[in-house]
Amino acid sequence: MSDNAYETDVVIIGAGPVGLFAVFELGLLGLKCHLIDILDRAGGQCAELYPEKPIYDIPAVPMCTGQELTDRLLEQINAFEPVFHFQEMAEKLTKLEDGRWHLTTDQGTEITSTVVVIAAGGGSFVPKKPHLDGLEDFEGSSVHYAVRRIEDFRDKRVVIAGGGDSALDWALNLHPVAKRVTIVHHRDGFRAAPASVEHMRSLVEKGEMDFEIAQLAGLEGSGGQLSGVKVKTKTDGENTIEADTLLPFFGLTMKLGPIAEFGLNLHENLITVDTEKFETSVPSIFAIGDINTYPGKLKLILSGFHEGALMSQAAFAYCRPGERLRFQYTTSSSDLQKKLGVR
């Protein structure tokens, strides 16, 4: 096997709260898990959207933030040694002759597992794209939503759109190598960290960086190569900034992505499951949390936890055929306490 090929009992797509708690329920049954997530850390929406926002409806926890919930879940599942594959998107799923699943990610990771659990919430977090005509023609060549190698921007005229930390951090980081950096933002105020904003403003004052209070209006160029970015200002109308590269940083939005092509029955972009095992229309593929639907479904974290517990019972039957599953409590079972590492 190559360096990025793995075998495990269960692959969980999505490392949000429901995916994390599934590791716990599966772990109590002795099942090992790998998790794939497009974000660079665990927590899903709790980490991306609500890290500092309060959550009031977790049983026995009157209030915790999204980040606190994530941190506690990570602590709770630590003993089960889950393997995380961050910044990767589950791309292709094929059935092997022996009945197991072979999953590949967009980064080339390959995982073979008996069971697949989709806990992908609202889908993958992907960059929000500006509504500009012909945008697709320039994506990947002149328009980028992330910086992989700073060196790629050497001597380039770079336009960065947005006012958050990504926009400001990359403007400052690319400034030393780029020929020219222009920030385009709709107002003379930024949500980015004040220190970055101050640094940017001092560069603009010295004439080393440009800042336009404007909005993106169009792209100029041909054959995938950008020559200019059209912007619209409130006072002067449209003008064009000469540019080789555009980096739009407008945050993330959720898209179902390749999961839609897995051959599962869907209803309005949600995966239909039964309410006994939370299994999809394809045996040994389960869906739990916000991504599934069934009569009476509530998109609550606590519902996802419950779904994970029931799913695990069925997953065990696939992973350990012929073995009897004994129902046990963590309070009293020496077997479970050993698995939890507390005995």
Partner: protein, 105 residues
């Protein structure tokens, strides 16, 4: 209370708003397409709407938190608001708003 919501095709929908609830919740409950990905926590910008100029004063000013979040919205106008940050009251009877593209697409 009645609220008029204009969709991306320019069609007007008169929906029922409920005092004490947010505009986003009313639009969502009416079955109109509004992503509102964070569910109303002012943590994304996918409930972006344009408030009709006649209603700008009545709907109040953006908070600092909302102002920051609108940095993530596309095609921002002076009338841009996040629908989850507009609480409905009887004073907003007849309110008119238009969905922004990034709230739907």
């Amino acid at each position: 209370m009645k609220i008029t919501v204009t969709d991306l095709d320019g069609n007007d929908h008169v929906i029922e708003g409920k005092a004490g609830w947010t505009l986003m919740e009313s639009i969502r409950d009416a079955g109109l397409p509004i992503k509102a990905e964070c569910g109303g926590a002012c943590a994304c910008a996918t409930c972006h709407v344009y408030v009709d100029m006649d209603w700008i004063d009545a709907t109040g000013e953006r908070s600092e938190e909302e102002e920051d979040m609108i940095d993530l919205a596309l095609e921002v106008e002076d009338s841009s608001r996040l629908a989850c940050q507009i609480e409905l009251s009887d004073a907003l009877e007849g309110l008119k708003v238009k969905l922004a593209r990034d709230a739907v697409l």
